[in-house]
Amino acid sequence: MAEVTFEHVEKAYPNGYKAVSDLNLKIEEGEFLVMVGPSGCGKSTTLRMVAGLEEISSGALSIGGRVVNDVAPKDRDIAMVFQNYALYPHMTVADNIGFALKLAKTPKAELKAKVDQAAKMLELNEILDRKPAQLSGGQRQRVAMGRAIVRSPQVFLLDEPLSILDAKLRVQMRAQITSLQRDVGVTTFYVTHDQVEAMTMADRVAVINRGILQQVDPPQALFDHPDNLFVAAFIGSPSMNLMDARMEEVDGRVVMHLGSQTVAVPDEVFTQRPALRKYVGRNVTVGIRPQDIDDAALETQHPQDQRLRSTALTVEALGFEKIVYFDIDATPVFSSDALDMEEGAEEVMSAQNTRVAARFDAVSGVKVGDDIEVAVTVANSHFFDPESGLAIRD
């Protein structure tokens, strides 16, 4: 076990394209760090640099205090799980798992014991004699995991290991991988484009976009306090509703104009974010999570001045809740980068109106076409500088 440290690490290609810029990050010993970002953001490149499969253009990468920029993959004492598993098709499951040990000239008895132990952890005992072609997707995934853990390496590297599994299996494997990692306690660097994986598995999540690290925090902190627009839009599903707002002081109280509608901004918002005071009388980007918007019919106690009116355009009943989409006439704000990965982003986008997603309680009786009143918990809103896109805090 060891920590992994990136110091000003960069990856630039001969054509000048920078896949990773000035990356500073420390993965603590035994930590499960998930790097998440849209496709092409440099996360896989980062992982491959740790693996030694990609050269580091500048900066220093160290594993366990040793700078490994020029160390060959085989000498880095790392194990990697590939997206497509990369199981050796001509070897049995046992040989696949034991390959690294065999190359390391481990004595036969010890090798067999270690393979058996790994197989036991992953429930592969029954299929040790099979070839990869005879395995199901989930089994292959577990063999790939077995190949990694059998070596007790310093660092695990996992490159989107669940992306080719079907949805149900993915949820199972998510839990299995995290519990496995806790059991063996090896420093783990996990790369994915799926923010749900990131949120559910990680000790800390590193959000990266366009080769630039955006924020590193534990999942809840990331969700509650996104540093900038990109992180705000990227983390959470459905995404945070982001729109232009104008803050004004009326009769000693601050209100926020969202298009033609107005909501009051309670004082606690400013006590939490003193810096927001400066934005009174100016435009600000406000972000409201879907769960902070509820059916006003169910929230009768909700202050009257923290409500919005609109018409329900779409209602997605999920059983435990209803996702309701409606438009309000505030100008939408997009983190353009986040849009790339949001499926159906065009639908959400309409020039003048902001399409707002809200999570209503399942008991809400809202139907498509209904005029609705929604209760907005303004105190939970997020505020960003419209110029820099950075969160306004203190």
Binding site: A51, G52, P73, K74, R76, M80, A86, Y88, P89, R147
Partner: protein
């Protein structure tokens, strides 16, 4: 006749047919007869065509007209024939049509295979038990001869050496080139591969003609040495050597020619196999602690093993049949004879059909194990799917 292509029209013809046509094909002797009939009609018509257009073989006829007629009658005619036969089958009652139709398309090919492959094989086998003029049976005499007389035994020994050495050398060199070329840049890779592949385009006789100058040797008094190898050798201070006259190494020198010809083929096929090994497999091995050599021997090589078998067996068959190189370079003298070359010599120089046929049968039998390996491998591959 040669322009009868194996029919592959089946797919394009089937879709319009009602499904029940395929579900319960009729049986019975009449259907069997019809199947034979439709299978034979097309080859028969082609033979008639062939005879009818005998002016095509006349030297006096206008060449352009010949080409035109051959193209129209050959290509369009064959298409019309298949189409017409398909229509004729339509006239049969539904189930009978379904039973007979496949034979419209497969039949002619089967007939041609029978005429051109099965019949000659049987006939050759019969010849091998007959005397030189194929007039009376002599039992196993011919076989006894080829397995006792020294010239044939040397030929068999040489052929075995060829089969051991040439495919091994061609595959190993081809594999080495394929692996090394894979590490080059795109452009230099294709340039290097083209160079290695070039000899493939040369006929065996042509290649032999080139190599005659490599190995050329003139005894004293017969002019200056013009051979490349002797130029190098004498340049290094040696005396001119009669490369092709000095047994047993002259066999090796002949094999070099075929290796030179076959390496390109092996390299191209193996190269595409190597390229199809996923990169992450190699990367996984590197991370697992393998050196580059171990990556090659433990991952790349097993991944391309089945391709190596194909290339190897294909080359083995080519080697068994090698005749031209020996014929052109040494004529089989100085202990360089091989089975195929002896066979031609018996048939056409010595006019001994019996021994020639016996050698032919020997070749045929020798190739069978190779074919079995290939078929087995093919079945395994199918089973993997």
């Amino acid at each position: 006749m040669a322009n009868v292509t194996p029919p592959i029209l089946e797919e394009s013809v089937t879709p319009q047919r009602p499904l029940e046509d395929f579900q319960k094909p009729a049986g019975g002797p009449l259907v069997l007869l019809l199947r034979f009939a439709v299978a034979l009609v097309i080859p028969a018509v082609i033979v008639v065509f062939f005879l009818a257009f005998s002016f095509l073989k006349s030297d006096d006829a206008n060449k352009l007209a010949q080409v035109g007629v051959a193209l129209v009658a050959g290509v369009l005619g064959v298409w019309v024939l298949y189409w017409a036969m398909d229509r004729v089958v339509d006239l049969l009652p539904g189930t009978a049509a379904a039973a007979v139709r496949p034979f419209v398309f497969v039949g002619p090919a089967m007939v041609l295979v029978t005429v051109y492959l099965v019949y000659p094989t049987v006939q050759t086998t019969i010849f091998s038990f007959q005397n030189a003029d194929s007039e009376g049976f002599v039992g196993l005499d011919n076989y006894v001869r080829i397995f006792t007389e020294s010239q044939y035994l040397v030929a068999i020994r040489n052929s075995l050496l060829w089969v051991l050495i040439v495919p091994a050398a061609a595959v190993i060199i081809g594999l080495a080139f394929a692996t090394l070329a894979d590490r080059l840049g795109k452009r230099s890779e294709s340039a290097a591969k083209s160079l290695i592949f070039l000899p493939m385009a040369i006929s065996f006789v042509g290649a032999s003609a080139v190599w005659v100058f490599m190995y050329s040797f003139r005894p004293e008094g017969f002019g200056e040495q013009i051979g490349l190898l002797n130029a190098v050798w004498t340049g290094l201070g040696g005396q001119p050597v009669d490369w092709l006259g000095s047994a047993p190494l002259n066999n090796l020198f002949l094999m070099v020619i075929l290796i030179w010809l076959q390496t390109g083929f092996c390299m191209v096929i193996l190269s595409s196999a190597i390229k199809s090994v996923p990169d992450d497999l190699l990367e996984a091995a590197r991370i697992d602690g393998a050196t580059e050599w171990q990556v090659f021997t433990r991952v790349t090589l097993p991944s391309v093993a089945s391709t190596i078998t194909v290339v190897w067996t294909t080359t083995v068959i080519t080697v068994w049949k090698v005749f031209d190189i020996v014929y052109v370079m040494t004529g089989g003298f100085d202990g360089t004879q091989v089975v195929a070359q002896q066979m031609v010599q018996e048939f056409f120089t010595n006019r001994n059909n019996g021994v020639g046929a016996a050698l032919a049968v020997l070749l045929f039998v020798a190739v069978i194990p190779v074919l079995i390996i290939n078929v087995k491998r093919f079945r395994e591959q199918e089973a993997m799917r």
